[in-house]
């Protein structure tokens, strides 16, 4: 007759998880002036909005962890969000088993417990990624309007400079809200 054993196993899973999400698009800058000058005007507009310009790249880090990067040469905009978290999960299980199968059951139980904790960590990681995506979505709604304004201002400045080059500006009226710009030039 075999004896009954009580098998207790415990397991701990500790992970540093890192999630990221991001989108990429291109700014459509009209070629009103030479490329380098359009680039300068764009850099100027971005600087005014808190971007740090280094070489051909303008970047701004938001409070919610969103990083905006503009390649002034190609007009490519990248918006990324990264988040990290330390996750620790532990669990314990106890079962009653017969003497002959005690060791086999202990190994199996340990494995099952570990897999279950790994699943929990994966679910946490997915939750964190979804939270990062929501942060990004909210930010993109704001940024769309901001980049539209940046483009409008850059285009308006370029038009003013171009008008100044081809003649004498007699009258200039600008509606900041609608982005409408009227320039009268004497040739």
């Amino acid at each position: 007759m075999s004896r009954v054993y009580r098998v207790r196993v415990s397991e701990t899973v500790e992970r540093v998880i890192h999630v990221e999400d991001g989108v990429c698009t291109s700014l459509e800058l009209l070629p009103i002036l030479a490329r380098e000058r359009m680039q300068e005007l764009l850099a100027h507009q971005l600087r005014e909005r808190g971007f740090k310009v280094e070489g051909d790249t303008a970047t701004r880090k938001e409070d919610d962890g969103v990083l905006i990067e503009v390649d002034l040469g190609s007009g490519q905009v990248k918006v990324q969000v990264e988040q990290s978290a330390d996750i620790k999960r532990d669990a314990e299980r106890t079962v009653l088993v017969e003497e002959e199968s005690a060791e086999r059951r202990r190994v199996r139980l340990q494995k099952e417990l570990r897999e279950s904790l790994e699943d929990e960590v994966e679910q946490e990681q997915e939750k964190l990624r979804q939270a990062a995506t929501e942060t990004l979505e909210a930010k993109l709604r704001e940024l769309k309007g901001e980049f539209d304004r940046v483009l409008n201002r850059t285009t308006a400045e370029a038009l003013k400079q171009r008008a100044g080059e081809i003649g004498e500006i007699e009258e200039l009226s600008e509606n900041q809200e609608s982005g409408e710009l009227t320039i009268k030039v004497k040739l």
């Binding site: 698009t25 979804q130 993109l140 940024l143 769309k144």
Partner: protein, 368 residues
């Protein structure tokens, strides 16, 4: 009366069903139940097959679009208008041993059975072979067995299969034809076949476009979009080199149909990936929607050609060709091309992957 054996009768019946595009219910048993295959056809059966294919494929080309009154720029720059057989001196399409052997393979195998034997015959050689393969594709698609055909390496060079079923070709891991191959293909009889098939291709592409509103997984939408890009890019380069820009008319017609079905370009853009899971990352959704915009990306190239054509003057050499293309694409016109660009712009905008309240409402209505 001409007599053939029972086995020959099965093969001839399949050929007839494929060429005449019989409904799947009548073809199904020939495809699903393996039959004894005649190794060699007797002269009577061979004559019936050759005659049936030669006449049948021409009739099929007429049915699939050759009946339409269109224009064609012939040699010497003269524009010929009329139905397909009036615009061209139509030569019967030729068939190699491939056509007979692929039919034998289909009759002798069950495509629904596990362990279906791979086709081991010669590859496609003629445009006739390729057109027959395309018709086989149309038939097998009805029974969702097209994948079994495109798995066969002998059909991997088919431009027509790629143009009609890019998603299935991509799924089977087939490499898209190069632009050089397409140039050579459309410069010959392939170009004539493609000219007659513009209407049929428009239907294939319109169906794919509307399917994009049904995907829930970003990966599936992306895969379809990528497969369309894989063929469109070399195709547009290939036909431009061959001076057959008119062969891109099916794209213009598809864009026209899709734009007419929605109130605005923004609505068209929102249809692409409308049901994508909101839980997927923005990156995945944006990449999927951008790939899903393959039609609109390709249309930008055609828009450029359209703009160039409008600039060609009466005294220029290409005037007749430019006028022919402008007339062919008139239904979409400059305004339609502009709306097409707006669709592409919306798909690539910074906030493109964001689920709008309207899209989210549509999804709820769709699932309730």
């Amino acid at each position: 009366m001409q007599l053939v054996s029972e086995q020959e009768h099965d093969l001839l019946s399949l050929a007839q069903a494929v060429v005449e595009e019989h409904p799947w219910v009548t073809v199904r048993s020939l495809i699903e139940i393996p039959r004894e295959v005649p190794k060699q056809l007797a002269p009577t059966a061979m004559h019936i097959l050759q005659d049936g294919l030669a006449k049948g494929v021409l009739l099929s080309l007429m049915r699939l679009g050759g009946w339409k009154q269109e224009s064609f720029l012939g040699h010497g720059g003269t524009v010929r208008r009329g139905r397909w057989w009036e615009r061209h001196t139509v030569q019967p399409l030729e068939f190699s041993a491939f056509s007979l052997e692929i039919l034998q393979w289909l009759v002798g195998n069950s495509l629904v059975a596990r362990g279906c034997t791979a086709y081991a015959g010669p590859p496609m050689v003629t445009v006739g072979d390729e057109y027959l393969t395309y018709l086989l594709g149309r038939t097998l698609e009805q029974g969702e067995l097209l994948g079994k055909l495109v798995e066969q390496p002998a059909v991997h060079d088919s431009v027509l299969l790629w143009l009609a079923f890019p998603d299935v070709m991509n799924q089977a891991g087939v490499k898209a034809p190069s632009s050089e191959h397409i140039t050579a293909w459309v410069s010959g009889q392939g170009g004539l076949v493609l000219e007659a098939l513009q209407g049929a291709l428009e239907i294939h592409w319109r169906q794919m476009e509307f399917r994009k509103a049904t995907f829930e997984k970003a990966k599936e939408l992306r895969q379809l979009g990528i497969s369309q890009q894989q063929i469109l890019r070399p195709f547009l380069a290939g036909i431009e080199r061959a001076r057959r820009r008119d062969l891109a008319s099916f794209l213009v017609d598809t864009a026209g149909s899709v734009l007419r079905s929605a109130a605005s370009a923004q609505d068209v853009a929102e249809l692409i990936g409308k049901l994508l899971e909101r839980t997927e990352s923005m990156m995945a959704r944006q990449q999927a929607r951008q790939a899903g915009g393959a039609l609109w990306e390709g249309l930008k190239q055609v828009e450029q050609w359209h703009r160039n054509c409008a600039r060609v003057h009466f005294i220029d050499d290409d005037y007749d060709e430019a006028q022919m293309l402008l007339a062919r694409w008139e239904l979409l016109g400059a305004g339609g091309f502009e709306r097409g660009s707006d669709v592409w712009r919306s798909l690539t905008a910074l906030d493109a992957g964001i689920v709008t309240p309207a899209a989210s409402r549509a999804k709820e209505e769709g699932t309730s």
